[in-house]
Symmetry: C2
């Protein structure tokens, strides 16, 4: 076989995440509760669902490459210009394009040890060199990130606020302060996938045209459209325009664009989902407490439950839950990996969890 190019040839075969369908095929049975991927089982707005069904009639047409209507609607909502916004195939797709745009082989990139694996996958995939700083008190550590960026002349700092996998968050003012301390030629990648669930104080006030930061948002979480693969980046016009040099221009599904546009126009459903998630977080905390597990505070649609044990124990618990038909995930590195991570969901799924968790702990005892 013709050889791969040297960079891809050097990459491992591993993938960042194994999806629940793959696990179900391995198990031979479906999950009774799908609580591992921070999807929203509360679903999309009924208006978005209707728009997507109606958009099937036009599926023979390629989608609109610039995503004009959605981009303009987002601009209005965000108080930005359309030139500040770039659509993409979810934040995963946008992160890959951004890394390609900014990181040459050998360039340094800074993130937190235990933060989003798919970002790391893209950095490694384009030959970047990752520098990881530890979490501090189960939260990403802005000062340590900045310090590492200065020391390594990093091109990018990745920060998720609110954080995945811990659910913690920083105040917007702390993020704003980071911008003033960024080293030269370093861009802050602010992953706000969970922003809609966060308290208002967690959202920084940043000029959409600020060239020091790019923000990433998605329709996969609060908008309940993970399978549609649509998200957006907000940044300075020159940075946003750069995406058009390398992206797959017609890559965003036409049905996804129609659904996202309709979802934006239904703030009532978003409020319903956020309220449902708040209630589900409380219930997950209660389910955990009944088994001696402690919920960490969360500004997201998931809850990290502290097992008060180590990573080996938590990994065993995830496996025991899987054996009892409950799909959850957990942080990958110590000391975060003392926790398991449970996605919010409607009560029937949480009923399954409430029954399975004490039994799974019993299995391990």
């Amino acid at each position: 076989m013709p050889r791969f190019a040297p960079l891809p040839d050097s990459l491992p075969q591993t993938v960042p995440f194994i999806g629940p369908e793959t696990l179900e095929r391995r198990r031979g049975t479906p999950f009774a509760a799908r609580l591992g991927a921070n999807e929203s089982a509360f679903g999309p707005s009924p208006l978005a669902a209707r728009a997507m069904r109606e958009a099937v009639g036009g599926i023979w047409k390629y989608g609109d490459a610039p995503g004009h209507d959605l981009t303009h609607a987002l601009a209005t909502q965000l108080g930005a210009a359309p030139a500040n916004i770039m659509l993409g195939e979810g934040i995963d797709g946008l992160l890959g394009t951004l890394v390609r745009l900014m990181v040459a082989p050998g360039d340094a990139v800074v993130t937190s040890d235990g933060a989003y694996p798919t970002f790391n996958y893209h950095v490694t995939g384009f030959g970047g060199v990752l520098h990881k700083v530890p979490y501090r008190d189960d939260a990403e550590d802005p000062q340590a990130l900045l310090q590492a960026a200065r020391e390594t002349q990093a091109r990018l700092i990745y920060l998720a606020n609110p954080d995945n996998p811990m659910g913690s968050w920083h105040k917007g003012a702390a993020i704003e302060a980071m911008l003033d301390d960024l080293p030269p030629d370093c861009l802050l990648v602010l992953d706000e996938a969970y922003a809609e669930f966060a308290p208002a104080e967690a959202i920084p006030r940043i000029d959409p045209a600020d060239p020091r930061v790019i923000r990433m948002r998605t329709f996969s979480k609060a908008y309940g459209m993970a399978g549609a693969r649509i998200g957006y980046a907000v940044g300075a016009p020159d940075l946003i325009a750069g995406f058009d040099r390398i992206r797959n221009h017609f890559g965003v599904n036409r049905i996804a664009q129609a659904g996202a546009l309709a979802a934006l126009a239904d703030p009532g459903w978003l409020a319903h989902v956020v309220a449902s998630v708040t209630a589900a977080r409380d219930r997950i905390a209660q389910i955990g407490a009944e088994s001696g597990l402690t919920a960490l505070p969360s500004a997201t649609n998931f809850v990290a439950l502290d097992t008060h044990r180590d990573g080996a124990f938590a990994r065993g618990l995830v496996a025991a839950l899987e054996a009892r038909d409950v799909f959850v995930r957990m942080p990958g590195v110590a000391p975060l990996d003392r926790c398991i991570r449970i996605s919010c969901a409607p009560d029937p799924e949480l009923d399954v969890l409430a029954k399975a968790l004490p039994a799974a702990l019993q299995d391990l005892a």
Copy 2:
């Protein structure tokens, strides 16, 4: 603003294609006939449309990353193993991933002068050096492609069979013969986006595990699902596995996967579309002939109409048709650019064309 990495910084702002919605916004009025992007206005199978509408209910879930069900159905249809097949966000997405996998900066890649611009865009985007050979008799020239690959030590040869934008095709035996003449370490990229419209003799018989070639197919053309962004590559297992090192694993829309699976199970609809396209090709040829334009033979869902003039004239004709609300495109380089390219469509759209074409020619006279 933090600078781009050197390679993207060197790239132009141009995009390979301007979509019809963008043109409509510039014009301020919609097109009456959308005949420029080789979409299928005959639409998807009704079974596929129903599957897509039903899949909206599960849109809160991420899609299945390996696309297990569709990959297995394709394998059965193709007499291949699932390990021979990789799904992607249309052939555009797959070409980008393939180029990244195979082409390092400075590597040579061979294609035909006037062939698919989006392939060229990806090659340039990853720092590859394009070597273009002329068409011969309005068809891509296998011997010239092979010769250029030998001279440049090319990593890839791109060949579309049937060809876009001319609609011409080679016999499968000629493609099979190319494989034996490929230089070492050079992969043939066989773009078969239009294969379903071609005569059986145009489809080469190639072992799906043959390491010398990767074939690309799509649900965007005959299956009428361009907006769904789903296609697939067929190749040797080690080559196919390489995609997992760098691709966006959850990037294929969940609704698209459901629609494609249902579309595969409806060969009757595919036969209906192919028959409709055959009839539309004849009608486009007749419409052209009535205005003194000659249809080139086509094995695709479009027809290149020879204006018997030059590129400047044909560009004027495309603009005059646009002014009369008809969207068509044309080849980009001489001597192909003496033609305009018309996508097959149902009769109402072709009625618009039949009226607009003589009028547009009159406008130019």
